[in-house]
Symmetry: C2
Subunit: 439 residues, 2 copies
């Protein structure tokens, strides 16, 4: 067990906290208050929240405590404060998708994912910072480990808030890298489930075939608990499972990977007590980035080009550029992109003929300097395009001591097993670490 009596509630793992609430050893009020105090102390440096109403959060927590006292049936997340990336609609909070053009937008209804989390008993703590419409653009959020560095895009606030112990869980999204990149940069566990894992209705869907939720937590048991609230049938408990064989993938864009990140991965792989095979990426992956950006551009143009010109002028540079690119595409260009995406998907599925799980990096290295931009998602992009489940585990460190995520990619629909393999990997790493420290 990680927990000690001295751990403040905001640092408790979600699955421990929720059990403590269930048994009456901890109140949702105290947990929420502890998280709010952490936010109060750190928000000026981190900037993870785009909307937070202290009193309203505590009010929800009180209601959760009353329910418990009244003997009501408790959901799996009962009383747990959760951050919601502000690309999900919430009927009771502004939902601005990170865009000045949607300032003070108040949708009438919750996004489906938010409905599920409320039904599971979660305290909706507030909305976390996202880049505008989830584009590759900087936001006001900073990396909690180093204020000069990017927290990643676009679920920046969700990853930073979890990393900084402001909340135990936060909801993100991913089209290309938006959950795994921030998880890697901020040093938390990030899970992008298979395509169609849970409904995306009421969220900022940029490209339907790419859009998924993203789950951020500080350990794998918490991720499983979180996932079980969003997808009926997903098991809460994670049983560690040793895979038959890891397939190591170096690419695409592997030449961009930082030397320290490569070295860290090499050392890591050498220590793994399991068969490892180097996999050559099929030729379809060569154009994965181009295809992804093309699909994004077409859909962004479809959605945003009809907006008034004055509104479009307020959009961030990457969004304006994408709209222009998308408007220049023909229908046959678009259908060719879809065809290439289908081929990449089939080729990606084929990789699992020779291994159970793929292993690679989740980012090109440690968190980039803010002056160098938000960071690159090229290492996660093809797996999102292929609709496969992926995880980032904060198991590596770069030369500056900042986290770098190990990315696991699971076979189609193999979400539950992917978490089990990750749990096995996590245990192996802890043991290796303990051996290293004791020797």
């Amino acid at each position: 067990m990680h927990t000690k009596r001295t751990v403040p509630p905001n640092r408790l793992p979600a699955h421990i906290a929720v059990e403590a609430i269930r048994c009456g050893r901890l109140s949702s009020f105290d947990l929420t208050l502890s998280c709010l105090e952490r936010i109060e102390a750190r928000e000026a440096s981190v900037g993870a929240w785009s909307y937070l109403d202290r009193d309203y959060a505590l009010e929800q927590a009180c209601r959760a405590d009353e329910h418990r006292r009244a003997g009501a049936v408790l959901g799996p997340l009962h009383g747990l404060p959760i951050g919601i990336k502000d690309v999900f609609d919430t009927f009771d909070m502004p939902s601005e998708y990170g865009s000045p053009s949607l300032k003070d937008r108040r949708p009438a209804a919750d996004a489906d994912a938010v409905t599920l989390l409320r039904a599971a008993g979660a305290v909706i703590m507030g909305k976390t910072v996202t880049s505008e419409f989830g584009m590759y653009a900087l936001s006001s959020c900073r990396n909690p480990h180093d204020q000069n560095r990017s927290p990643g895009v676009s679920s920046a606030g969700s990853a930073a808030a979890v990393a900084d112990a402001m909340v135990p869980l936060a909801l993100g999204t991913q089209h290309t890298a938006s959950t795994l990149l921030p998880a890697s940069f901020c040093g938390v566990f990030g899970f992008k489930p298979s395509f169609a894992f849970t409904s995306m209705r009421g969220s900022n869907v940029l490209v339907p075939r790419l859009a998924t939720v993203g789950l951020l937590a500080r350990n794998l048991d918490d991720l499983a608990l979180f996932a079980s609230a969003l997808a009926p049938g997903f098991k809460v408990s994670v049983r560690p499972l040793q895979p038959q064989r890891f397939g190591v993938v170096r690419g695409p864009a592997w030449h961009q990977v930082a030397a320290d990140a490569r070295a860290a991965l090499c050392v890591f792989l050498r220590k793994l007590p399991v068969a490892i095979a180097d996999l050559e990426l099929p030729v379809e992956f060569d154009r994965a980035v181009e295809v992804t950006y093309g699909l994004l551009a077409a859909h962004l143009a479809h959605r945003f080009a009809p907006m008034p010109e004055a509104t479009q002028k307020t959009y961030c540079g990457p969004l304006r550029a994408a709209i222009a690119t998308g408007l220049a595409l023909s229908a046959t260009n678009y259908l060719r992109l879809e065809e290439q995406a289908d081929r990449l998907t089939a080729a990606a599925h084929g990789l699992f003929a020779s291994c159970d799980v793929l292993i690679t990096l989740a980012s090109l290295g440690e968190a980039s300097l803010i002056s160098d931009g938000p960071g690159s998602g090229e290492l996660t992009m093809p797996w999102s395009l292929a609709g496969l489940p992926t995880l980032s585990l904060p198991l590596l460190k770069g030369d500056r001591g900042l986290p770098i995520g190990v990315q696991l990619v699971g076979a189609p629909g193999d979400d539950q097993r992917l978490l089990s393999i990750a749990a096995w990997l996590n245990i192996v790493c802890q043991k290796t670490l303990e051996t290293a420290q004791s020797s």
Copy 2:
């Protein structure tokens, strides 16, 4: 029972013939020979077949008879000759998709649907005539009831062959009208199942979201038997089911419907002993035809514009026109069409809130004169776009005594129930007819 001892084998219903083969009262050879003799007598007038090898058909039939004598397990279609629209790949017969540009094309593998039919024991009789790539163009096939009239497009040969008792069953396809229109014009039962009813791999898919198989037969029990071979879990037996309420749909393009067809439908509806409600089509249907043609044009341009210019020059007029239209579309035009199709689909599904099944016409009237073109599919188009299961029943006649199909539209995925409701409707009509004749 419809069968009498004097009925020649080629006129037997499929479900009766297959039972007779199973019991040894009829050989596949005799059945196939009887069908071949009918074809020999009538093919010069009807022109339903693009490929037929008499000896090869009889060879398959002999093999089927041998299997039976050897006591092998028999599939649901054992020994039954079936016509295959020549938009399905067959490894042992030319597969030209009705196009001179694919003359003598011999694919290496069967289409998935053909694989299923062979596995069910069918004798693959030959390939039936289709317009080029299934476009709205005339083919060499003629309406068996009147050589000056169109058999409908594009599963023309399959419908004509079944109507003319050349085969008991034939496979077609439908993107917009290609099964129900020929069924209506030729006076047979046509069934277009829900989207994704069975795999379309190895067939001429024009627009993935529109492509389905189409089943043609001379009665509903035969359709169910046929469907059960293509979709595991589909029940072979049809139990008549009286619906709670029919929703009558007059549209879209109802102003184009011939006066005799309208009158025939009115008389028909008045006699039905069940609640009937007139339904207003939602506004999304106004653009159904335009959206369908737009999607077709984009996908046709994507597929055919890369072909050599000399090849493109050989294409029929409607295909060349669609390619030109598709090339002029932008990616955002295309995505708008997809969005409109999604909205129409949702609106179409909503119609079933107030009724079990929709009823309308399957064609604008009796088979059109060949000089007036192949016929219009506007009455079936929106239901194909919405992915709903539809049936055409040859229950009406126009002023010339030619058949006109009644179209039933089922709720999403409600294929089995649609057949049951059709069976009830069919029985009611027979009774009404008997009463009229005896009075």
